[in-house]
Symmetry: C2
Subunit: 223 residues, 2 copies
């Protein structure tokens, strides 16, 4: 059950890399320097939109080959009562975010885009895309007679309940530096686990990649 398809993770995140390796897939990492443009405002729309942009930029940069290829783009945000919290720019901003999240339940959204391109020689399916004419801009169809590219975009939402945090606990955690490169100023997979009451949804979605859903959506193409 090794994957027959060449898988490319379009993300620089070491956490996403670990998660994809955890579920036993062989893959490589390619990162684009695409300028992220967000037109949406709702958290789930934002992460879906950005996941499409990341995956498309990487697919466009990869040479056609004989292999089947799957590009995975992903983006994650934290939202409190509908408002998006990004990565903190300073320890002070991290403290403010944690103060806001303390004792409450917030949502984590990860958007995922899967772009699948069958290899030049071994196309098993010449049917059109599965997106019913609603393919994101940039997706090319039936070029040069190959099997069409296909895509799926989805998001997963996980609720995360924090214990109440004391000022001392916030200062201690921020001093560890673990908060600085993470949306919402915390990493559930590290020391911060001591302050998490529970979750509802996919845990790995909070870490950065909903590998359960991703595997289920991708398996028709990769196994």
């Amino acid at each position: 059950m090794r994957n027959r398809t060449r898988i490319i993770l379009a993300s620089a995140s070491p956490r996403r890399r670990e998660l994809l390796a955890q579920i036993g897939l062989d893959f490589e990492v390619r990162v684009s320097d695409v300028e992220e443009k967000v037109s949406a405002t709702l958290p789930w729309q934002v992460v879906e939109e950005l996941s499409v942009q990341k995956a498309e930029a990487v697919l466009a940069a990869v040479q056609d080959g004989e292999e089947d290829m799957l590009v995975i783009g992903a983006d994650t945000v934290v939202a409190l009562e509908g408002r998006i919290l990004g990565k903190p720019h300073s320890p002070r901003e991290a403290e403010e975010m944690l103060r806001e999240l303390s004792g409450k339940t917030h949502e984590v959204y990860t958007g995922v885009t899967l772009l699948y391109r069958p290899g030049r020689e071994v196309s098993r399916d010449g049917a059109g895309t599965s997106c019913g004419g609603q393919c994101p801009a940039g997706l090319r169809q039936d070029r040069s007679g190959r099997g069409a590219e296909r895509h799926k975009t989805f998001h997963e939402r996980t609720g995360v309940a924090f214990c109440p945090l004391t000022e001392e606990e916030i200062a201690f955690y921020v001093a560890t530096g673990d908060c600085m490169d993470k949306a919402g100023a915390y990493g559930i997979q590290g020391l911060f686990a001591r302050y998490v009451k529970g979750i509802e949804g996919d845990y790995n979605n909070v870490v950065g990649l909903p590998v359960g859903r991703l595997y289920q959506e991708a398996k028709e193409w990769i196994i």
Copy 2:
């Protein structure tokens, strides 16, 4: 915020060790060869009872010292519709368990017992135990004029929803061997994550130790 209390984890599980280290506590591991006797039948009662036995056996074997000491015992079971699933004894039994869990939501229970003994010289609190006369057998009180031992026992319950598993997926996973030393025949923190839809509760409770609740319950004694 390093712990001032000597912490002893009364468990041989490498996963529990990793979780306790993850939340930044200093601890040592001591394992007793206590014979586990279960009188209870409900899953949460069983894990609480076993966690008490494990913690007490280790505390009894540790010499009194000048330091404050906290012993942590824990036990985890998987339950499907109220019926406990233990660790599989064979690949065939693992397959059967996974077939039963496929496409359903089951519960994971971890019972935790915290036994706290203030050091001989530095007892800050001579009050009686907090268990109101219901201390598990073996807990000694106010011996030799020291501060009394205190304990807490609790459990956490997490719901885990599996995707439907094909026979091929079950055979593939069982062949990895990852199922053999785990209650319910799966490890959520490994490759099996690809088959998990979502959870409700503490993720680390499924791995084997609810470190969020544990930290909140223990912090008055360790920080």
